[in-house]
Amino acid sequence: MRRVMTLYESSIGKKVAMAVSGLLLVGFVVGHMLGNLKAFQPWDGVGMHPLDAYGEYLRTLGYPVLPEYGLLWGVRLALLLAIGVHITAAFQLWRQSRSARSSSYGKARPQVFSYASRTMRWGGVIILFFVVYHLLHMTAGTVHPDFEYGAVYQNLVAGFQSPLIVAVYLIAVGALSLHLYHGIWSVFATLGAQNPKVERWRRPVAALVSGGLFVGYAAVPLAVLAGILGPL
């Protein structure tokens, strides 16, 4: 543990913490997106909608070895911890960099301009706000017009009726994929896996994952808005 703490004290350590927590979160968003796509699974009208069934499955995963919700909460705590680490390290690194150049250039013309890399910090903040909103919207239902516990599919269709809300989701999902485009690409460098062999695949892998996520996540609200996914 002492070694991990020593590592964390350094700038590289904080970046490693961000990379590792980031990878965990990427794993989550990929899984989450795949789950979402259950919305498109045809339903024969008997029993639960596949999406609802999937939700139920997640809630009872590990039962009865673990208590009901046990694993779910475990995962949620892990994700919360990952988010906490990711944000704390990001903030500390931002503070370090800001104090490394307190007076700025009179005229600066960046020679590399990657929108993705320059918007990491603001993109991260947008994603954070969105996650809070999204939890209140689709998990807790607090800001949902007519939320019904466990009726995931119904909540989803009802929740995406407003074009404004769909727009918010699209912006957030866009921010997320931009964030991950640079994030995934960066992970290789930060964890020391950047070499000529990997180099060929870094950009494509980052583009594929972040692009795939955008399409996958945007599909559901757009389909609702387009009437492809309708009320049951």
């Binding site: 002492r2 070694r3 991990v4 020593t6 590592l7 350094s10 700038s11 590289i12 350590g13 904080k14 970046k15 490693v16 690194l93 370090q96 960099s97 800001r98 104090s99 490394a100 150049r101 307190s102 007076s103 700025s104 250039y105 009179g106 005229k107 600066a108 013309r109 960046p110 020679q111 590399v112 990657s114 890399s117 320059r118 990491m120 640079h182 690409w185 960066s186 290789f188 460098a189 930060t190 964890l191 020391g192 896996a193 950047q194 070499n195 000529p196 180099e199």
Partner: protein, 255 residues
């Protein structure tokens, strides 16, 4: 050709600086950028003002002394050269040129365009060497080194310590400088013994000097007059990670 220069003038480290405008008339395209500054300085001197202070020495792109932001770009608009190798044919008549010092809190401005880059020396001091006492070396051919490794080491060793990477980095990070030296030595068999202590020591010193951290923009690589690759940063990350997790970093650096 005639040019208008906006040059950062700052009389001393603590004084407030500002841009001052100078006309550079009758500039020949064959002049180097620093020849042009020399000429402007001759005129400023004759008018009784103090000339623009800027650092320079070899004027052939190898000593690393010169370094300034020219129109917002470290070492100016041409790739893979230093400010002293830039020639006026890269500009056209009537151009306005903004010239200011490299900016980073670890590079305090001393006067006008002159900054103090001693922080980079202190990073080297923290392990950027192979400990070999004079006279104790074995025969030079005792250890063959595969050519590809020697070449990779050389690519990293080409660093001239000018600080353009720091100047260009949005975070004012000196990771490219630090990583280049670490990689130069870690690609060679002679550098293996101290490899992880070196990574730990240099990164710790880098942070202590107040440089920012790397966010993989790659601006440093673009600015580097010697074309040093950001891949070396990744290599240093790996070495540092290994040093930390094996307890070398915790043990502290030292000789």
């Amino acid at each position: 050709m005639n040019l208008t220069l906006h040059v950062w003038r700052q009389p001393s480290p603590r004084a407030k600086g500002d841009f001052r405008t100078y006309e550079a008339a009758g500039i020949s395209p064959t002049m180097s950028f620093l020849d042009m500054l020399d000429l402007v300085n001759e005129r400023i001197t004759q008018e009784g003002e103090e000339p623009i202070a800027f650092e320079h020495d070899c004027r052939e792109g190898i000593c690393g002394s010169c370094g300034m932001m020219i129109n917002g770009v470290a070492h100016g608009p041409q790739k893979l050269i230093t400010a002293c190798q830039l020639h006026m044919r890269s500009f056209s008549d009537g151009d306005e040129i903004w010239i200011e010092p490299f900016r980073a809190d670890s590079f305090p401005v001393m006067k006008d365009l002159v900054v103090d880059r001693a922080a980079l020396d202190r990073v080297i001091e923290a392990g950027g060497y192979i400990s070999v006492r004079t006279g104790s070396a074995p025969d030079a051919n005792a250890v063959p080194i595969p050519k590809p490794h020697a070449d990779r080491a050389f690519d990293a060793a080409a660093c001239i310590g000018c600080g353009a990477c720091v100047a260009a980095c949005p975070n004012a990070s000196a990771m490219l400088f630090t990583a280049a030296k670490a990689a130069h030595l870690s690609y060679l068999p002679q550098g293996q013994t101290e490899r992880y202590e070196r990574a730990a020591g240099m990164v710790t010193a880098h942070d202590e000097e107040g440089f920012g951290n790397c966010t993989n923009h790659g601006a440093c690589q673009e600015a580097c007059p010697k074309g040093i690759s950001v891949e070396y940063i990744s290599r240093l990350n790996r070495d540092f990670l290994r040093a930390s997790l094996s307890g070398i970093a915790a043990a502290g650096r030292g000789d």
